[in-house]
């Protein structure tokens, strides 16, 4: 048993793909997740159909396995003429999936902001949209950061499934090298150590962000 330095450049390239995929799917998930959460909390009256649509979306993507969603997008959709590169299929599946989970974190955070905050904003003459944007969301996003951090770390690790559709992420590279030289233990252990390193780095970075955005005088980020 032994490590070969020649693997490192390839693994580094795989790591780059993993990080790009995770970052992109988290950004997509956050943007879509916030919209879904807002619809779930505020879409009523004439907008009720949007509430239903958002709820159905969340139920569907949380209720089916990510791997199945990935397979449908990459191997299923081509039969109706929709084709993506492996990376793009991975990004779409992961982004759509994490959006549903993030929507729930954001929804919980929005609902945790006290009703009096909205009342006070409206009493000043702010429109509902302005009140959401300037009063509710800034507080809710702080509350959502801890669960969002967990989701980021989870997605980083779960991104390994994209090797199954041929993406050369860290996992894909490790497996490809190992398939050539049969040094599975070394390569997968090395991959594990790299994933662990990245997760620890992210954990510290996010904790730093959490401290930075903490509201002075409140216990933890945003909590009253």
């Amino acid at each position: 048993m032994g490590l070969d330095w020649a693997w490192l450049p390839q693994l580094a390239h795989g790591l780059k793909i993993t990080m790009e995929l995770t970052a992109a799917c988290m950004a997509m998930g956050a943007a879509l997740g916030i919209v879904l959460a807002l619809l779930r909390v505020y879409a009523r009256g004439p907008f009720l159909p949007l509430f239903w649509l958002a709820s159905a979306y969340v139920q569907f993507f949380r209720g089916t396995p990510l791997l199945v969603q990935l397979m449908i997008i990459h191997f299923g959709l081509p039969s109706v003429g929709i084709r993506f590169t492996p990376f793009l299929s991975g990004l779409i599946a992961m982004g759509l999936n994490t959006a549903a989970y993030q929507a729930e974190y954001f929804r919980g955070a929005i609902q945790a902001v006290k009703a009096g905050q909205m009342l006070a904003a409206r009493s000043l003459g702010m429109t509902r949209v302005a009140a959401i944007r300037h009063v509710v969301l800034p507080q809710a996003l702080r509350l959502a950061l801890p669960p969002w951090s967990n989701e980021l770390i989870y997605m980083l690790k779960y991104s390994t499934i994209v090797y199954m559709i041929g993406v050369m992420d860290l996992m894909g590279v490790a497996r490809t090298i190992a398939a050539r030289n049969f040094r599975f233990l070394e390569l997968f252990s090395l991959a594990a150590v790299i994933y662990l390193g990245i997760v620890l780095l992210l954990t510290f970075a996010l904790r730093w962000v959490e401290r930075r955005i903490r509201v002075p005088g409140l216990g933890s980020a945003g909590r009253g």
């Binding site: 006290k114 006070a120 904003a121 409206r122 429109t127 009063v135 509201v215 002075p216 009253g224």
Partner: protein, 250 residues
Amino acid sequence: MGQLLVVEGVCKRYGAEEVLCGVSFSLEKGETKVIIGPSGTGKSTLLRCINRLTEPDRGRVWLEGMEVTAPHANINKIRSQIGFVFQDFNLFTHLTALDNVRLGLLKVKKMGRKEATERAQAELARVGLAGKADAYPAQLSGGQQQRVSIARALAMDPKLILFDEPTSALDPELIGEVLGVMVKLAHEGMTMLVVTHEMGFARSVADEIVFMERGVIVEQGPPEKLFRAPAHPRTAEFLRKISELYGEAA
């Protein structure tokens, strides 16, 4: 119509319970009117019906002759002209005292940043909190938070301010500083409608007292008359109970 605020026949029902039934009164410019009465008699609901934070079921409200309750009234514009001070302050927790006061100026009045900052600082000074501009709500005492919320209302140049039990959530030793600010405002000629259990304040500052019970106005009149010789036995009983409880007033 010389009246600043006219409330006519306002009704509100929650399920089977009629919280307000046919409440009518008016407020002149510069007047301070205090609403008293037992808990749960719709006093807070009445205040919220005036700027439609709660939608009344029936009845009409006018502000300077403009109907607040009209179906196509620009309610956001109207609300920006009616200050509202909440029992539990409702300061924006993620913003400093200065930003709390400034937000409405920037986002509702669309004031420039420099002008809004100066105005907000002036309002904080007016409530005695010039030194707390950079403090967050959680770093302030309840009395200070309520004074910031009064400054937030004042900054909008309101035509009147509605106070919903502004001292009920405060420790006894902090009530005085908030009442002090309110007394000052009344003397400066601000039009105020105040729901409170502070009979000392009602007695010394109010131009008129309204006694409400079970969603209706039982009696209204100047404080000397209401406190000395209430016309209605229910008013007398309420005042007696309050004075037993607080050892003052009646």
